[in-house]
Amino acid sequence: MNNSSLIESVTARFPGAVKASHAWRGDATMVLRGEFLLEVARYLKEDPALQMNFLMDLSAVDYSTFGKKPAPAFFASSGVALKPSSQIPDEDPWPGPPDRSRFAVVYHFFSMAHKHRLRLVVPVEEAPDGTVEGTVGRVDSLTDLWPGANWLEREVWDMFGIGFRGHPDLKRILMYEGFEGHPLRKDYPVNKRQPLIGPVN
């Protein structure tokens, strides 16, 4: 299935779920409303025409400083390749960050039978008090559909502090238990040091 028919079939099945879609550089992408995530993921996995049996990757992006880095005026035109490659599709423009919300959880699915890939983006709103953590979580966990999502979601929690609803054991994975903050957030300074505490027994 090609990119446009992939996007079309999901949009037709869940008319209210898809906020935006594009296929920039040939990567089919859909921005979803969070409440539809589980249904859409189940549909992607079980529909015989889609058969997305792999959850290849699950990560997140903190869009809070997107485009805010001062850019030098010279090379302002860069980004436009002089000789665009014919092998890399370039039909759709990239619509920009998915939403006004701070975070986006990004899923990459792959179908072994049909060899197609799909990216789902779920924007995650930051709570008014500046946190997205909490016992409730903001995004549905996919651990019931793909057990591999377990560790990937733990990593997103560890690095971004985004909680997952229904995750069996949401705790830090790469950082240690006593670590404060979430290192891949843009407001976490890259050179910040914390005392290293051994694993808690």
Binding site: W24, G67, S85, K115, W146, G148, L152, Y188, V190
Partner: protein
């Protein structure tokens, strides 16, 4: 075989579960994994796997350096096959930029990636057998790895942290007599592989420990996102090189070995066969590689060492260097002006100029300067791309988000052995405590890529 009587005896015995902590400072855990196993006698009832001991913040660091500056960090992901990481990252950024590289460059990358894959499999199989007590096989395989690392050193100038690929090309072309050296190294490697296979394949101790341990079905492996040799040993024939071909893999013929039982033995056999297939790919690629537009060298004058040329230019002695050809330092061999068009994309805003130009004329100097100065380097358009390559452990994907600035906004690596490690607890449960060693060995856990 257990008799019924023995079983009833055991049922009457009062047993208590034992909690055993293995690692992180345990040689078989490679120093960075901790497994807390709940044991019933020798059987593992539950295993909790703890990772993160080698976390160095790759993804965070990638956000503060420029696009080419990430490449040395990618060397340290899977440090046994760094060339595949280089290739994956560079191809992702090229997709983001929308540029392509010359065909010869694709072939060079494929050749180096496949040599890396062999070194990776040699290390994995060698280390596993060593942990099972077969020191001889390990030493033989490390010997073979040495031949291949000599090749890598010849091309890249380094053995481990190679930093060979660049966004839009590679550092330097293959050296003159590479094909001949490659043929010799493969001859030696094939000898070693035959020897090791003879030592291990029907070795009673080895087969008893590998057969039927660490079994995982294809469905389970897929649900955990496992790819690569680990998945193929379970019977699913997913290989990024075949199914989503990149570079020039669709033009090279090779087979994808597939196992049936999904146990440690199958994973060993799949890896052994993949090494042979990788050698086939390299041989075919060396046969098909286009000669590349090697320009006529403008040696009208005598070659001048680059530093001397700079000094002369500073003193205004332009006449002395006019028409001269700068000789860059020997580690830059193969990246000269004559080779440049065949290894680098024809895009001035992405790739550094040849050294002679950087030292010898103002246009080259400006190009070099603008690319190297912070904030002026490679600047892709705003966007996000995901690009997978077949790493030695499975699908190695890079997801790069750009906001149009000189450094990546976000770089995410999909490390293949992260998925396998997340299934490790399931793999170990139900097996004996001694089976942990071959199972963990066949995972080919590489700390750099697992913890990033």
């Amino acid at each position: 075989m257990e008799t019924t009587a023995a079983r009833t005896d055991r049922a009457e015995l009062e047993t208590r579960d034992m909690l055993l902590n293995i690692g992180p400072a345990h040689p078989a855990m490679h120093g960075i994994i901790r497994i807390v196993a709940k044991l019933d006698g020798e059987e593992i009832e539950e295993a909790e796997v703890e990772i993160g001991y080698l976390h160095r913040g790759f993804e965070k660091m990638a956000e503060v350096v420029d696009y080419n500056g990430v490449i040395p960090y990618t060397d340290r992901l899977n440090y046994v096959s760094p060339l595949i990481n280089n290739m994956g990252y560079c191809m992702t950024v090229e997709k983001l930029l929308g540029i392509s590289v010359p065909e010869r460059c694709h072939y060079v990358r494929v050749i180096m990636a496949e040599i890396s894959r062999i070194t990776d499999h040699l290390t994995c199989v060698g280390a596993t057998t060593m942990e099972l007590g077969a020191m001889t096989a390990f030493l033989y395989m490390i010997k073979a790895r040495e031949f291949l690392w000599d090749l890598v050193e010849e091309v890249t100038g380094a053995r481990l942290t190679v930093t060979y690929c660049r966004v839009g090309g590679v550092k330097a072309d293959l050296p003159e007599d590479f094909e001949e050296h490659c043929r010799k190294a493969f001859e030696e490697t094939r000898k070693v592989l035959a020897e090791v296979e003879g030592l291990l394949k029907r070795n009673r101790i080895f087969t008893d420990r590998m057969n039927g341990t660490g079994v995982i079905s294809a469905e389970d492996a897929i649900s955990y996102g496992i790819t690569g040799p680990f998945l193929r040993a379970s019977g699913a024939d997913y290989d990024v090189r075949k199914d989503c071909p990149y570079a020039v893999y669709d033009r090279l013929s090779f087979d994808v070995p597939v196992g049936t039982r999904g146990d440690n033995m199958d994973r060993f056999l799949v890896r052994m066969e993949e090494m042979e297939q990788s050698m086939r790919i390299v041989e075919a690629a060396l046969r098909d590689i286009p000669p590349g537009p090697v320009l006529v060298s403008p040696d009208t004058g005598r070659p001048i060492p680059a530093a001397e040329m700079v000094d002369l230019a500073k003193m205004g002695k332009i006449a002395a260097i006019t028409g001269g050809c700068a000789v860059a330092c020997p580690t830059l061999e193969g990246s000269g002006r004559d080779r440049h068009p065949s290894i680098a994309t024809d895009e001035k805003r992405v790739f550094l100029p040849p050294k002679e130009d950087g030292y010898g004329n103002i246009e080259g100097l400006m190009q070099q300067f603008k690319l190297v100065m912070h904030g002026h380097g490679v600047r892709p358009p705003k966007g996000e791309v995901y690009f997978p390559v077949e790493g030695a452990n499975g699908e190695l994907g890079f997801y790069v988000v750009s906001d149009g600035a000189g450094s990546p906004y976000r770089v995410r690596v999909r490390p293949p052995c992260f998925a396998i490690m997340s299934a490790l607890s399931k793999l170990l449960t139900g097996d004996m405590i001694a089976d942990m060693i071959p199972t963990f060995g066949s995972v080919n856990m590489i700390g750099g890529e697992l913890d990033r």
